[in-house]
Every structure is written in C-alpha cells, then in structure tokens.
C-alpha cells in the first residue's frame, strides 16, 4: 500500500477557482465550459473521414456542420479539452500523482472496473448527446447562467445516480 497520503486542495477553494475559470470562459468567450462536445467533434470528424459521402446525409453530422462550419476539430471545446489534458497533467506532476494504473476498489478486479468504465462511458456519451451537454456543459455551466434546462439536467443526473447507487455499491464500497 502507498505510504504517502494523497493531498488534495480544499474543496471550497477548488470550487471558487473552478467558478473563476467558468466566469472567465463566459467573460472572454460568452459561453460556459464543456467536455462531451469535444468528443462529439472527434466522432463527427471520424465519420466524415471514414464515410465522406454518406455522412452528408446524416442528420447528426448535418446539425453539427450547420453549427460549426469548417474543420470539425477547430472548435472552442476541442481547444479547451486539449487544455484540460495539459492542466491535469501539470497538476498531477506537481502533486506526484502521475502513474499509469487502473484505479478500483480492492473488492473488485481491474477487469470488472474497466468493463464498467466502458459501459458507463457509453451511457454518458449517449446521454450527453441526448441531453445537449454533460455535467460541465449542461449542468454546471447551465446552472451558472440560471438556465432551466441546465438545472433540470443537473437534477436528473445526480438524482438518477443517487437512485441507482445501491445497485452498483459493490463496485465502490
């Protein structure tokens, strides 16, 4: 077992700093933070590369194209999420947390953890498309601008996670 205790920032200070980052995004770019939208760019980019002709007929791709003309990877969220990878890496480097590993409860295997991570990711990706944004873009950024939709999505995400937590407790506790 690790002897060094992991030290994290005080959550309230972290929250104020995150709020300032979100405020900066609104002040500079007139929009909030996001995450799933960057993956959407990757998917649209992949589809148009693999099947350029049939992709033009796809409603999903068309909707994205209308909103983001030009290179699908040249969007605000792709640049922002590239920054997230850099920022997370810098923080992890300072804190001595850079390590290639599968993190899981000692009661479950790595394989089980990875299987659930994959399924969870699939659901989250699908849900974020349907809900027009994830925890960052819809719930957090939506709440900061008092959006009704953002607030509803936030309640639905956290409410459902609490309601179903019991069934997945073995993975975590």
């Amino acid at each position: 077992m690790e002897t060094k205790k992991t030290k994290y920032l005080n959550p309230y200070i972290g929250g104020v700093l995150l709020g300032i980052v979100l405020l900066a995004a609104n002040f500079i770019s007139g929009r909030g933070l996001g995450a799933s939208g960057a993956m959407k760019s990757v998917v649209v980019s992949s589809i148009t590369t693999v099947a350029p002709s049939s992709s033009e007929k796809m409603g999903f791709v068309k909707e994205f194209r209308d909103a983001h003309p030009g290179n699908p990877m040249k969007t605000w969220l792709v640049f922002e999420m590239t920054g997230v990878l850099v920022g997370g890496f810098i923080s992890g480097a300072f804190a001595g947390r850079l390590k290639l590993k599968v993190e899981h409860s000692p009661k479950i295997t790595s394989k089980r953890r990875l299987l659930f991570a994959l399924m969870g990711g699939m659901l989250f990706g699908f849900g974020a498309e349907l809900g027009r944004g994830c925890t960052s873009g819809s719930a957090l950024s939506g709440m900061a601008v008092l959006s009704l939709g953002g607030f509803i999505t936030m309640v639905a995400i956290f409410g459902t996670a609490y309601a179903t937590a019991y069934f997945f407790r073995k993975n975590w506790i």
Binding site: G15, L123, G127, L148
Partner: protein
C-alpha cells in the same frame, strides 16, 4: 465590454487560444480537487466523500454571482451570453442516462479527461466508451430525433419561470448550496472513509 469574443474585441483565433488556456485552468483545478479519481467522485453517491458536491456547487454559485456582479458593474452584457436551451424531454431522459453512466463509470466526460491526463487507464477506457456512445447516437439519430427535439421550451431562465429577479434566485441558490454543504460535512463524518 464582455463577452470579448462576441463583441469582437478579440479574433476567433485568439478566442480559440484562450479556450486552450481556460482548459488548462479547468484541468488543473479538477485534478487539484481530486476529480481525477473515480473512487473519490463516486464517494458523493455513498456519502463517504462529498468533494464533488462541494466543488460543483461552490463553482456554480461563484460563477453565477460573478456574472451578476460583472453585469451590475457594466463589464458584461448578459444578453450576449449563451443560455442553454430547454428541451424538457431530452433534458430529463438524457440526464437520467448520464446518471446511470456516472455511477457505473465513476467519471463524467470532463473528469475522465482529467483522470486520463495523469495516467488512469479506467479513465481512458471511459473516454473510449464516450466515443462509442456518441457514435451510437449519431448512427441511430433518426430513431431518437423525435425525443431529442420534443417539448422545446425556448431558452428560459429559472428566474423567469419563478417570476423572481436573477439576484433573488442567486441568493436562494446560495442558501440551498450552504444547506447541502452542511449535509455533505455531516455525511462524511457519519460514513466511514478510507484513504485511497
């Protein structure tokens, strides 16, 4: 003055560069707060670690109050800020699917990038899952576009729905957040917590 890009005070390329810088701040704060750990994130749903609740709501009310004060000082025009649209059906159903994804996967999209940046393999697999999930949505778009577009209510703000001013709603949110922080602190004392 603000928002700078909407008022064309900065070019599109400058805006994208600043998006990268904002992302660095976003990723740094998430990682510093422990959001690179799925076990820490999932803790909020079992009460043993409520860091998600504290960071999330502190950030939301900080940005909310910041925007209101910026507007009051005339530094930003809130009419030019992006307000998320409200499609009632997809907001609820999409949110519910995300909730199950959250408890199963232990990450949300932003935190999975944060986890992957410090080498968490489970976070990288989660990102692979995101790609598949979005691809499924894209390929079957015709099946669920009815649900996706149903019950569009426009771009309402909570304050408009409740018939209150933005300031009063923000004040109520702060009160609610403080109440939740109190519950969070109580839960962490009540439920056992191991170091990980």
């Amino acid at each position: 003055m603000g928002p700078l890009s909407v008022n064309e005070l900065i070019s599109n390329n400058t805006n994208l560069f600043l998006a990268f810088i904002i992302g660095i701040g976003f990723g740094f704060v998430l990682e510093q707060s422990g959001f690179s750990s799925s076990r820490k994130l999932a803790g909020v749903f079992y009460g043993y670690d409520t860091v998600v609740l504290k960071v999330f709501f502190t950030a939301a009310i900080t940005a909310m109050l910041g925007l209101l004060f910026f507007s009051l000082f005339g530094w930003i025009d809130l009419n030019l800020i992006y307000i998320n649209p409200t499609y009632l059906t997809s907001a609820i159903v999409g949110g519910m699917i995300m909730g199950v994804g959250f408890i199963m996967g232990g990450f949300c999209p932003g935190t999975s990038f944060c986890g992957a940046s410090i080498g968490k393999i489970d976070a990288m697999v989660f990102i692979g899952g995101l790609f598949i999930g979005i691809l499924i949505f894209a390929l079957g778009y015709k099946i669920w576009d009815g649900m996706y577009l149903a019950n569009f209510l426009g771009f309402p703000k909570i304050s408009q729905v409740l018939g209150l001013s933005d300031g009063v709603v923000a004040f109520l949110m702060v009160i609610v957040a403080l109440g939740m922080f109190w519950v969070g602190e109580w839960a962490e004392k009540k439920f056992p917590r191991e170091e990980y």
